[in-house]
């Protein structure tokens, strides 16, 4: 903490530490223990009065060296660690890793496993967006929506608990298919959830979307132009709010996404409200995908036959999926052994965080929470 104090004393005079040399600059720390950062994110903010001049994220508080850990784990084992990266879309992380290993193994995935994977991905996406919606509204001072969001999320968690055996870190998608077959209750429970969701979705708009205080705090806040979204490497709802078409499910379809009917949600306003509306509308597209699949789960194996010990051929393999936050890329370099030589995760949160400094400059400190909320940051995903 001593070093931090030094920075605060010197920074306003020292250009290399973010100060402009002008008097009147104030440097404050938001986090690493701050309720609005949703985790251990440390932001050093240079302020002029109440206007933000600079936001500097300091990372590494929850760095667990997951990439290095994966190098000592076999191709079956390393998938469980990736549930701990973006813990709100753990199924989709597992999916990306499984796809990459399957690309190296050249195995055909049974159609039943493909459908189960897509169903789980979309359920996870809804659960993730619902938690985001509740937390986002709570950041802006509305406490009730949090409980409304958790009510729907709870029924998804129940479905996951019954089929995968866990509520957050599932480790359900494995190379070759899925770990266990669907629970007999799965279809009924998903249908019951969709009925609940359709009955309750108007509450989201009544409580938050239409609220005048909420709209005033979101509209024209944190504008991100499409050019900047591309140059900063943003993906997912953050970039789609600026009108950049970047849905991996549409551009590079994996599994059965090319056979499904759904729209890529796009908004052109580029402000916080546009990013908010993207996620609200994306949940409805996920419901649409689930509706198409839930009655058409093909019979058959849930796992392809693979060897007991997986060995990838020499070479490098890359796969990408669309998580709830954007594009997740998994890059495996193999030397032909049972463990990867090098693994690199391209996480969506890291690129989305890098744009925070750009969109926050010139706006007020109170709006920073709204911007951070709409970027949907998950800190373990950024640090890994």
């Amino acid at each position: 903490m001593y070093r931090q104090t030094e920075i605060i004393n010197d920074a306003s005079q020292n250009p290399s530490l973010g100060g402009s040399g002008e008097t009147g600059d104030l440097i404050i720390n938001v986090g690493p223990q701050h309720p609005a950062t949703h985790g251990v994110l440390h932001l050093v903010i240079t302020l002029n009065g109440e206007t933000i001049k600079k936001v500097e994220p300091h990372l590494g508080f929850i760095h667990r060296s997951i990439e290095k850990m994966c190098e000592s784990l076999s191709y079956r084992q390393f998938i469980y660690v990736t549930s701990r990266m973006d813990y709100l879309s753990s199924h989709i992380n597992n999916h990306a890793c499984a796809l990459c290993v399957e690309k190296g193994l050249q195995v055909e995935i049974p159609p039943r496993a493909q459908v189960i994977r897509v169903l789980m991905d979309e359920l996870t996406r809804i659960a993730s967006h619902e938690l985001w919606w509740g937390a986002m509204a709570m950041d802006l001072g509305a406490f009730t929506p949090f409980f409304h969001a958790f009510r729907e999320r709870e029924s998804i968690n129940d479905i996951m608990e019954e089929t995968c055996g866990a509520r957050l870190t599932m480790n359900y998608i494995v190379p070759g298919g899925v770990m266990q077959d669907l629970h007999p209750n799965f279809q009924n429970k998903v249908k019951a959830f969709m009925q609940l969701y359709k009955r309750k979705i108007h509450e989201y708009d009544e409580l938050v979307t239409g609220n005048i205080i909420f709209q005033n705090r979101m509209k024209n806040i944190g504008y991100l132009s499409p050019e900047d979204a591309i140059s900063y490497g943003c993906s997912g709802p953050t970039a789609r709010g600026s009108g950049v078409s970047c849905d991996i499910r549409k551009i590079y379809p994996y599994e059965i996404y090319d056979k499904l009917e759904f729209d890529e949600v796009l908004e052109t306003a580029g402000d916080s409200f546009a990013r908010y509306m993207i996620r609200i509308r994306e949940m409805q597209q996920s419901i649409r995908i689930i509706e198409q699949l839930i009655d058409n789960i093909p019979e058959g194996d849930f796992q392809a036959k693979t060897k007991a010990v997986l060995k990838l051929p020499k070479g490098d393999f890359y796969s990408r999926v669309e998580t709830a936050r954007g594009e997740l890329g998994v890059y495996i370099v193999s030397e032909g052994g049972t463990t990867p030589y090098r693994i690199k995760f391209r996480s969506p949160g890291f690129s989305n965080l890098s744009v925070l400094d750009h969109i926050a400059r010139g706006s007020k400190l109170g709006d920073l929470v709204a911007m951070m909320g709409t970027l949907d940051l998950v800190i373990p995903d950024i640090d890994r």
Partner: protein
């Protein structure tokens, strides 16, 4: 700092214009707040729609699904026999050294020597409930239990020996 700081003027929604527009904005704002309050009042008066569970008071009736991954256990039958052959597949499958199989050789009735487990040590404090050991086990000797209240006062209590003292392998399990 070579980059110029672009000061954007923070702006809010402009009023629709004039006094009429101002009153319209106030009306719309108040209406949106009332719509939200109506939803809150609905739940205030409809107690049956509240789904809060009274944990831990409902411990007896709490029903967890069969597949819930709480803890690795080794089921024994009434004759104190388990199904573990000591093949160490679970130990190899575990990503972080949670399971340690200690084997011994026992002499059977017909004089043959056979590998059997002495102890199956399970470190609950290291376990991430990834289910890989259960999948790897060829003889279904270990299963996941549905317990989830694992807090203890001493960390050593989390290291468990899964096979009961004096237990032996079931007949017919190879």
């Amino acid at each position: 700092m070579s980059k110029e700081i672009n000061h954007k003027e923070p702006s809010s929604i402009p009023p629709s214009g004039g006094w009429g527009g101002y009153i319209k904005d106030v009306y719309r704002g108040v209406k949106s707040l009332l719509v939200g309050m109506k939803r809150t009042m609905y739940y205030f008066t409809h107690h049956k729609e509240i789904i809060t569970q009274q944990y831990p008071d409902n411990r007896e009736t709490l029903d967890l699904p069969d597949r819930f991954k709480g803890e690795v256990v080794m089921p024994h039958d009434e004759k104190n026999e388990h199904r573990c052959t000591g093949c160490q597949a679970c130990e190899l499958a575990c990503p972080n050294g949670t399971i340690k199989v200690i084997t011994q050789s026992v002499i059977l009735a017909d004089g043959r020597k056979k590998k059997a487990i002495d102890k199956l040590v399970y470190h609950l404090e290291l376990c991430t409930m990834c289910n890989l050991c259960i999948v790897a086990c060829p003889s279904d000797a270990i299963v996941m239990a549905q317990t989830f209240e694992h807090s203890v006062f001493d960390r050593n209590e989390l290291t468990k020996i899964l096979n009961n003292p004096g237990s032996k392998i079931m007949e017919g399990v190879e």
